[in-house]
């Protein structure tokens, strides 16, 4: 496929990610920094780091919430971490869900936390899919040049 058509696909994907609130201005800033040219592969790197980190945190959260007695302080600490890293790369939807999740932790609401984890997981998987498509398109475009 021609580079121009790939580029169009990529732009459309990015536009839809912004429009749906999946990512925000922070992500846009990181993209712009990459486009400035001094650090190519910037976005791919932090996106990959974020996905690995989020994956790890979500597993830890699942394990913690399965315990007969839930340690809400530990749960809150992990959610705080996830909130922080999602804010740093501009993963807006995940960030907002984490904020609600933290409130449920503070209320020591076990069922609420389990539901919030399910929501965060789904949103993260959705975001990860889009990121993977984005990276594939970028690689294909690079290959054409």
């Amino acid at each position: 496929m021609a580079a121009a058509a790939l580029r169009e696909q990529l732009n459309a994907l990015l536009a839809s990610m912004f429009a749906s609130g999946l990512v925000d201005e922070q992500f846009q800033q990181l993209q712009m920094l990459q486009d400035d040219g001094s650090t190519p592969g910037f976005v791919a790197e932090v996106v990959t780091l974020f996905c690995d980190d989020a994956d790890r945190i979500i597993s830890e959260l699942a394990a913690l919430l399965e315990q007969p007695v839930v340690d809400f302080d530990k749960v809150d600490a992990y959610v705080h971490q996830l909130k922080g890293s999602s804010a740093s790369i501009g993963a807006q939807k995940v960030k907002f869900t984490c904020m609600q999740f933290r409130q449920l932790c503070q209320d020591k609401n076990r069922d609420g936390c389990i539901m919030a984890l399910a929501v965060v997981r789904n949103e993260f998987y959705d975001l990860r899919n889009k990121f993977q498509t984005m990276l594939q398109l970028e690689q294909q475009i690079q290959a054409q040049q």
């Binding site: 922070q26 800033q29 990181l30 920094l33 400035d36 001094s38 650090t39 910037f42 790197e45 932090v46 780091l49 974020f50 980190d53 600490a77 705080h80 971490q81 909130k83 922080g84 890293s85 804010a87 740093s88 790369i89 501009g90």
Partner: protein, 234 residues
């Protein structure tokens, strides 16, 4: 305490980034490296305050550590917080103070003033953005490159605001004023090495404080001196 202080290469600012989040460490590192401003950052990143202490040689009696131009640390970290690290760094480096900038995802006025009062050069609310890079640069002790072009990102030179620029809008002006004076005190304290750099700011702040006090005095006398004479003796 000997801390090896080899002359920094012209224009290179050595920053020690301390953050337990791998994503935030990398974002900080990349933001600082990709800065389009003149003068580059050399970034060392560690994932805990304890490792930062080891790196700086702060946990040994003979303190042989690496030299850095500044420390950029996250506030909330497990085991030892950025605040505790800040205090440790300020306590151990009285002869050659290392600037410390604290970053946090929480925009909490109390947290901000606590850090500034403990001697932090600045407090930045996360997520870290490219506009924060110039603020960070201006806090370091590295000599700026003499022949460097002015930074594109900053439209004007912004000296580090003493009261924490990102403080929540609802913060009472009283605490802002306290932060202001704490900032002046802090600047006086840390000015031993860079007096010439801070002098214009210091003069401006002193004049501003004096002007505010005079104005307050005048208004007070104006409003309460209606009956008696109008003599103003300050």
């Amino acid at each position: 305490m000997e801390v090896g202080r080899a002359e920094a290469a012209e224009g290179v600012t050595r920053v020690l980034v301390v953050d337990d989040s791998p994503v935030d460490r990398r974002v900080a590192q990349l933001l600082l490296s990709s800065s389009s401003c003149a003068g580059s950052f050399h970034v060392i990143a560690v994932d805990s305050a304890k490792k930062a202490m080891e790196f700086l040689g702060l946990n040994l009696m003979d303190g042989k550590g690496q030299a850095v131009d500044m420390v950029l640390t996250d506030y909330s970290m497990p085991d030892m917080t950025g605040y505790e690290l800040l205090k440790a760094i300020k306590a151990m480096n009285l002869l050659k103070p290392i600037p410390v900038v604290v970053m946090s995802s929480e925009n909490e006025p109390q947290r901000i003033s606590r850090c500034l009062n403990a001697g932090a050069e600045d407090f930045i609310v996360k997520p870290l953005q490219s506009k924060d890079v110039q603020r960070i640069r201006s806090c370091s002790t590295a000599r700026p490159n003499k022949g460097s072009a002015p930074c594109e990102a900053a439209t004007k030179r912004t000296p580090p605001p003493p009261s924490g620029h990102h403080a929540a809008g609802g913060a009472a002006s009283a605490s802002g004023r306290r932060g202001h004076f704490a900032g002046v005190a802090m600047i006086l304290h840390s000015s031993s090495a860079e007096l010439s750099q801070y002098f214009p700011l210091l003069v401006k702040l002193v004049l501003l404080a004096y002007a505010v006090l005079c104005l307050g005095e005048i208004l007070h006398r104006w409003s309460s001196g209606g009956g008696g004479g109008r003599s103003l003796s300050l």
